[in-house]
Amino acid sequence: MAAEKKHAAYICSGCGLGERLDIDALEGVAKKDGKMQVVRTHDFLCSQGGVAMIQNDIDNDGVTHVAIAACSRRAKTEAFNFPTTAISRGNLREGVIWVRPDTDEARETTQEMAEDYVRMACAEVKAMTQPAGNPNTGTVKTLLVVGGGMTGMTAALEASKAGYKVVLVEKTGALGGWAAKLYKRVPTREPFKAPQDNGVADLVSQIEADSNIKVYTNATIAKTSGAPGRFKVDIAVESGPTVTEDIGAILQATGFNLYDVNKLPQLGGGQANVVDQAGLEALARAANGGAIKRADGKEVKSVVFVQCAGQRDTSGEHLSYCSGYCCNTSIKQAMYFKDNNPDIDTVVLFTDLRTPGNGEDFYRSAQNKGVIFSKGVVSGVTASGGGCTVKFHDLILDDKNAQIDADLVVLATGAVPNSGVNIDNPVDAPAAAPAEGEAPAAPVVEEKPISILNLDYRQGPDVPQFKYGFTDSHFICFPYETRRTGIYTAGPVRRPMDIAQAQEDATGAAMKAIQAMENAGLGKAAHPRAGDLSFPSVRLEGCTQCKRCTVECPFGAIDEDEKRFPLFNESRCRRCGTCMGACPVRVISFENYSVNTVGAQIKAVNIPDEFSEKPRILILACENDAYPALDMAAMNRNEYSAWVRAIPVRCLGSVNTIWITDALNSGYDGVMLMGCKHGEDYQCHFVKGSELGRYRLSKVGDTLKGMNLETERVFDMEVAITDMDTLPKKINEYAEMIQGFGPSPFKGF
């Protein structure tokens, strides 16, 4: 196949390209500079006729590589879909005529821009091969669900309903998790007025009746190895043998623990008549609809609920976030009392009552039942008489010395995720970890997290965490994704949520996990390049074992083999190319995206001499946000400088510094790098890609100084997909600045 290469270029003259550009000249460029064996034009290339022309050349003329000079690579993807053929796209429409004024004086520079894009498309396609797909596919289609609470049980049932086998592992002796400990749950149905059955028994019986679901209780994950479609998971069953299961994808639904009430002594944590929400559920279960009694057996006649106990804390001592479910839970618990006896004084002390879902109706129902809600900040809970005195600052009446006496105080302490070991902060790693060859660390003060998945990945045993120990995922754009391909998190381990949200989450994550298994079986990438058949290959003979690829891979896809060479697990790979950008000896590449495919485009651009006053600026734009923003700028006809030549990259993380030095050496006057926002509120589709890329590129300044160039010539900017109006302005400002510097001294060398 590789022997017979035949390159063809197709130039479209539709959409106004014919009127604005000299198509004959472009044809000449494709033949002469692009060295294309076949060059054809068509006045409507994406029409049936145009596509048939290309297809005919592929079928009957042996064309293997196609450069299409027409619109953006983001447009007409369905028309220009030739699965067996390598394709590059020269962006003449969004990249040239839509961003340039239609004037006589602009005609020359516009034509030059178009000719360069034709050269680039030809150069790119010649450096490409059509990917064949990941050869190391795994075909296992069994889903492992870790955690048998509401989230885990829902996920298992949903996956089973979709026709997949499920292995459900639960640490305790019974399914149900927190929900099973609830006397009742917050209502999920109209009219949302009274607590309802917790629903656990129903789910458990459904699971027991489901032949697709295999349940392990009293079991933990001893080891997870492999990749999506071919995970090997060792399940350690208490007082039993360790079982190994073949698994396609993993769904982690390990839930949360309550924040330790003993850390709140000023709010009465530790006192006999002060309980947390779980404590009250236990009392309510014991009462089972009768009068709720305290631990000492006394019937509770007055109760105070303290919201945000140890939550939304600004001192840094306790949880700084809102756990999302506690307000509804306290409303529900207040109703336990009121439903039994309306004369019991129930007061909820809150600062902001947050009732997600249909909680507003529930809240109103509680008010109707006579639960009193007071806006106040509790300063202390002290034991007094036979109960407690709650001192608080009444925020409505601005009474700093308000107080209430109560038989029982319930603290809404909030949720701490069970996300395992924080692999980015080894201080939190288990001090007494039984990992081989590790000396026991300093004495443990607190309970240290133990690993949940025990991944045998080079980058650590659990999925990476984000803020406050919740697992990392982009909670708006791609909520269930973790930074470990084929492993999804759902429920309160991902972000604070209640049962209803967790069940929705479970369903979504189960679907994503099924997608991942299916894609892995076809050798395709998972999100965000879902369906991509390319995969990284490494020329090991050139590898220096520097380990930058293994360290930087945001998805932990690369392990090390016994000879300390990188070992790619293609099914774990998301095809972002961060390894390729990181590799100092440039031995990592994809069939259709490599140091060469971009490097060839950079070199293909015609650099005018220093007297022409035509600077050339290279734009390396992230294909997820920045390149679409450029396209949308074009659709809005926001014009920008004719000096720029834009090349889309898979991620800023895939930018190899050689591209920048090559560009500057060959006479480009400037380089603009456009990537997504990084940091706490990152927008990067590969989570860490833009951050890693930026860190790498921050070192380029030294290279520039070494070349006696202004460091501002390389400009790194954060671009969001919505920047279509501001982006052209920034490009123009930058182009003006570059013009102010004068031409690069490297021109002509």
Binding site: N368, I372, F373, S374, A402
Partner: protein, 213 residues
């Protein structure tokens, strides 16, 4: 009347919210307030000097059991009955009606602030209107002007004399109404009987409530 106050205080002990719910008209809505403050923000009086507490604070004080403070407050008497708060309340709490209900209850207990202008106007207007079945505007104006003494009344009358003369000229004001009873409605006795019956019915209903029926 203060006797009734003591009775009620004893009856409800610490549960002032319950007292308001059962005794004040529309009082059972107080618990539904969610303290958003839209009522206070919507009030056209802007709580100029003289307002003790905005409505949502009154409701909170009721829940906090601040009985004396609420019942002797002048807040309920400041309401102009524009209904802006009622219209805007996201919880559809009939704030205007509750304010009047609490005001009326405080009046019944004898705790309403003495010589509070709104209270005085209400009483004066009521007495004036029910006496002959029609409002006698001149006498009503007189009693309002002279409520703070003769000197203040004359001063006020002099200030307003141009307006009064204009009204007389336009035949909108009959000075002669000041003398004697002024004009009456056709069946004064009928009106009085009707009012007496209404009062009887109301007293019966409220006595029933106070007794805990």
């Amino acid at each position: 009347m203060s006797n009734m106050n003591e009775q009620m205080a004893a009856k409800y002990k610490n549960n002032f919210l319950k007292e308001i719910e059962e005794q004040a008209e529309m009082g059972d809505w107080v618990k539904m307030c969610m303290q958003c403050g839209v009522c206070s923000g919507s009030c056209p009086t802007n709580f100029h000097a003289g307002w003790d507490h905005p409505p949502q604070e009154i409701f909170m004080m009721i829940r906090a059991g601040k009985r004396e403070e609420v019942l002797t407050s002048n807040s309920m008497w400041q309401c102009t009955s524009c209904y802006n708060c009622y219209v805007r309340c996201p919880r559809k709490v009939p704030i205007t009606h509750i304010m009047h209900g609490i005001a009326e209850y405080a009046y019944r207990l004898g705790l309403a602030p003495k010589m509070q202008p709104s209270l005085h106007l209400s009483q004066t207007f009521w007495n004036n209107a029910t006496k002959h079945g029609r409002v006698n505007e001149v006498q009503l104006t007189q009693s309002l002007y002279f409520k703070d003494g003769i000197g203040a009344g004359i001063k006020k009358a002099m200030e307003m004399k141009d307006v009064a003369l204009g009204l007389v000229k336009a035949k909108r004001l009959n000075i002669m109404e000041a003398l004697g009873g002024g004009h009456k409605c056709k069946d004064v006795d009928g009106i009085h009987k009707m009012l007496a019956k209404a009062k009887e019915l109301e007293a019966k209903r409220k006595a029933g409530k106070a007794a805990g029926a």
